[in-house]
Amino acid sequence: MTDWTEVLRDWRVGLGGLLLLVLMGVALAAPWLAPHDPNAQDLLWVLLPPSWAPGGDPAYLLGTDTLGRDVLSRLIWATRSAAYVAVLSTIGAAVLGITLALIAGYAGGVLDWIIMRAVELLLSFPAVVFALVLIAALGPGLENVIIAVIAVDWTRFARVLRSEVRQIKGRDYVAAARLMGATPLQVVLQDVLPNIMPSILMLVSLEMGGAVVAETIISFVSASAEADVPTWGVIIADGLSDIYATPAPVIAAVSSIVVFVLATILFSDGLRRRTDPRQIERRGAAA
């Protein structure tokens, strides 16, 4: 079983978790943190540089864009969009993927075959393309982005977890539980699920980063959201056309995405190092 206090002491888990908490905090507190309305246009003050640069205005810390909108406020509200998509699509993809992995891995047979063919089908094809096709059919909107990400990314959970479920199913304690008359549902909930928990957390963390990247891609190429919802992808797309005037919005949005993804990678990497038996063994042998 996993020793969770040991896991939390890992610096990767700590730093990754802290960064994720900060980003989530920014997302939740966006209405109070943002100094301006993210969509308020001030055509007298367009393309202002950041406040520390010559010509900057302290009221606009990161400057303004072509329409005179405050870059910092847009960035903060975009964090909210990103967190919204990351959390909901990760929950959706995880629930769908875990359920199907448990069914495929534990029940086996025809169900396993069907589920795994579906996984293979979606993996043999660029995820971006399928997500964009779904968006083309569903229309814009953050909710549709979430649906598209779930439809594509549940496969990540299903593929990894299904093989773990199969391994656990062969263990003695599962056989013992079944001999004692536990129903399949009881075995899955009491013996299988706790044992795949570390992997689930790892995948959830990675998926949050993946979902943010997917949202950025979709909003970059095809207005994922309604026009008045700022997202990092929209900030980059808008910013690229004024890149010579002020690179600040693009730099800020790119940095935000990298920090978010880095946090999820750190978190899951630390988790893997602390919970993967092979890794722990290797460290034990080295000491």
């Binding site: 660029p126 059919a137 693009v250």
Partner: protein
Amino acid sequence: MAELGLIGGAKGRAGGLRRNGGARTLKRLARRFATSIVTLLAITLLVFVVLRTLPADPVAMLMPGNATEADMERVRALLGLDRSVLAQYAIWLGDALKGDFGRSIQHNTPVRVLIADALPVTLQIVTLSVGLGIFLGFSGGLLAFTWRGTPVEAGIEMGNGLAMAVPDFLWGIILILAVGVGLQWLPFIGLQSPSVTVPDITGFVLIDALLAGDPSAFLDVLRHLALPVFAIAMGLAPTVMRVFRSGLMEAYTEDYIASARLRGQSERQVLLRHGLKNAVIPTITLIGVQASMLFGGTLLIETIFGLPGIGAMMVTAIGGHDLPAIQALTFCYAVLVLATTIAVDVICLALDPRLRIKDQS
């Protein structure tokens, strides 16, 4: 169809190499090929159904805003859209097998012609990117391996971890910011400078420039491709490095390394003859696994850098709800990904005798 020819040829070669188990290997490849065809059909059907049954109405998108309901019905019947989705798919598939993917709604040109123009651009980008990505990954991996246990390794590891957090399209934007706008070293829009013209011989601009004997045009195109290629390569290199390095470490725990050392081979010879060979195979497998991500990456990179490949074509088609183009392009992507995975399989079978033995169990 070029891809199919390539697979057939490679398959024949791989089969010819086998002394024992050749028939089995051939059978395995044939089965792989058959499943790929089924996958291809399933993907096109899936996309077809998604595009036809979800809320957006293709006819409404086609028609001007003041079209009457009767007009819509007529167009629907004309396009066969009043029949069942499966019947429509059968018609599409029948035409597609004859090489007819319909006409693009946006351009009113056969989709096949548009793809034939765009595909070489994408293939050039992907080929160069894979080459550069493998080169960067191998160099990093070799450096980290030779300096294992030193700060150099730790430094490379950290850089690798950071690079992994940046998806390829963000590399594109970072490169535009740093190299294109900041340093102004390289162009970042389009495939060539407006003043440069390259005759259309093979469709592959780089090759055409060479065939036309125009080194300055070749260089110009290369300069335009440098940033997008580097961006995709940077998306690939960190993973390549990780797999290559762990492949090296794994190979060095095997007995054949110790025995090569005992036979008096220098460390350099051990690395070149035994270490590298065994670390290369998992890396090639990785390219197969990453194939769909790789081709997916071109979508954004082509859009960002204004390159007229199938990725940019896909983005425009989606923006304009150009259903025939979307449908044909998804087919095209699926063929590319499946062909790459099969090619990777063939290369691995040819390189690694252990795989051919394992086959028999």
